[in-house]
Subunit: 260 residues, 3 copies
């Protein structure tokens, strides 16, 4: 597989300071025909897990050969390495801090390289903005035809991160809220396939939900459960912010009991 | 008219979760040369009227043949239909819930089709994210040359929505605030042409304004009235947020008295 | 130098109302092959100094020939002029209110023209949205090949704005916080070169910092100083919002004492 001219950007840089615009300038300097797509720049500051979740929900909708750049990077300028990763269909450019944990878990074949060849960096490297100085130019050079093994040595001791799996017991699953979206919908780490076609009772805080709805509007005013767009069990309230109304946050427990 | 390769996106999805990035990935998969422009993704959640207002203020500035995708869609996955609409100069892709009400009111000729042909959807259709699974791929296929009547049957019973018109009496107009912009400027539903070249007195809450200004800086510290960029009477305060300072919101009444 | 087909946009328009989308529609109408990059649209409303700082940190990362459009424009529709500016490598389109002050200070050669030729404006000019009616179409026409002196007369009495320089005394510098970024990092107007390779003591409110760190993660929990990505002395706290925690804002004083 060769890199296409499509680059996606996922960061916690926000859209206020011009950081993202600068990265695009750097990339257009190297590859004028680059098609640069913003995945999000509003990952909560320093929240590597949220960045990993969003990346995992989105990367596979892009054309094969797309270069995905994912930067949530509290350790910028310190000892953490920078990575270029190749999977069957995509490339990833990111700091080595676990933001690619779902890629490392699920994608095969998988090759991981350290970004070490300064030839592909900007000439002056700051200690605070590797998005501009290292990640953006390397992504653009990759799209421009540089082979991934030219960026640095292949490595095997990258940070695999931690993936919180639901506990599956006899007649019961205990999972967690792993993401809260813009609408306040609560996404769990329980795969939809585990709970469909069964009689169940879902517990979240003091709420009990006893069926899986097909859509948000099947139930008004009360919490409902459905299979969300990323394929996981999701708790929502029609036209309301379930996170706020139920006072539920990332990490909170969700239980599913199977009823005979 | 044939569809151009320009697609605009107007949603209430926010820019946090990567939903919009995913839609762009889906479209680039179908039409790599698509030029995708964000109109806004910050329509207040579920606020169909605000989405309709923004769309109506903006669509006609784009080249003929542009495909405008407008998604504020609390009923996603439920019984509401999805639409493809053709007017003299543009195409629109949207849920059938009134978000196109100004298009239906003002544009002629007008043809409306239901999006029903699953050949142009993603293979797996979620019940929560039709932006990704239905609207994005249909928009891209339309740009790629699929004829609009291939997406589904022509329909005539679409939701026309409700347009709040000002009440015009003898020597007086009663209108409403229909939109508050980022700067806190208050946009009414009173066409500028109705109030220009006349002696008037505008009443809004406890404020009285007795002339139409040409620009925001003609008056300092006090509320002023002018004809806004969409052609409607607008109330503002120079360098201040009029909505906050006057405690005025969408729906509040505005009166215009004509003075002899 | 000729204009490239790259246009950047820096405004305080926000991304809620569709203003930016409309500007892009206008530009695509004139130049379908325009590559339009958002620098930021979240400059604090009416904050010309913040807009000038962001522009100055970013414009030079773009390919030569890029047209930079910078609009923070509280005086829209009033008496202020509109400008087209050419420097050695770039073009700038902006209101004449000081937002280009760093360009005027640092870039040579420099030619400044008033945007006066209505041939390149939209036909109908509002008094509230020159971004759409004047700046966007002029930027697109410039990219499309119109010579910069066709837009209006060369002028020399443009607003140069005010640049706050640090006070350099014997053994001491007094500077100011001139920008606070999304992460709450505090950027000063003290060039990094002035404080590197010296024994120093930095004072900011009640905090004293006695060394320059290489990266954000060199110090935990306590304020640290480093040279930021734009080359200026910056005060930060690892993984925290220094502005909030230290209660420091734009304009606050920063002192640097040199220790023998």
């Amino acid at each position: 597989m060769r890199a296409k001219n499509i680059i996606t950007l996922l960061t916690d840089f926000g859209e206020v300071d011009g950081f993202v615009g600068v990265m695009k300038g750097v990339m257009l300097n190297i590859l004028p025909r680059a098609v640069i797509i913003d995945m999000t720049h509003q990952v909560p500051a320093h929240d590597i897990d949220a960045g990993a979740f969003i990346l995992n929900s989105s990367f596979h909708y892009f054309p094969a050969g797309t270069v995905h750049v994912a930067i949530v990077d509290p350790g910028v300028g310190g000892k953490r390495r920078a990575l270029a990763v190749q999977t069957a269909n995509y490339f990833f450019i990111a700091p080595d801090n676990g933001i690619l944990k779902f890629i490392f878990e699920h994608e095969r074949p998988l090759r991981v390289f350290a970004l070490a060849n300064e030839k592909y960096f900007l000439r002056h490297i700051s200690n605070t903005f590797h998005g501009r100085d290292i990640f953006a130019p390397c992504a653009a050079h990759l799209c421009a035809g540089v082979k991934i093994d030219e960026f640095g040595p292949e490595i095997f001791d990258y940070q695999t991160g931690e993936i919180q799996q639901p506990l599956v017991g006899i007649g019961q699953i205990i999972g967690n809220i792993i993401y809260v979206d813009t609408f306040g919908n609560l996404i769990t780490n329980i795969p939809g396939a585990m709970v469909l076609h069964q009689s169940i009772e879902i517990g979240l805080g003091t709420s009990i939900i006893s069926s899986i709805s097909r859509s948000y509007d099947e139930q008004e005013h009360e919490p409902l459960a459905l299979i969300g767009s990323a394929g996981f069990l999701e708790i929502a309230i029609f036209r309301q912010n379930a996170s706020q109304r139920l006072n539920v946050r990332v990490g909170d427990a969700v239980s599913v009991k199977f009823i005979n």
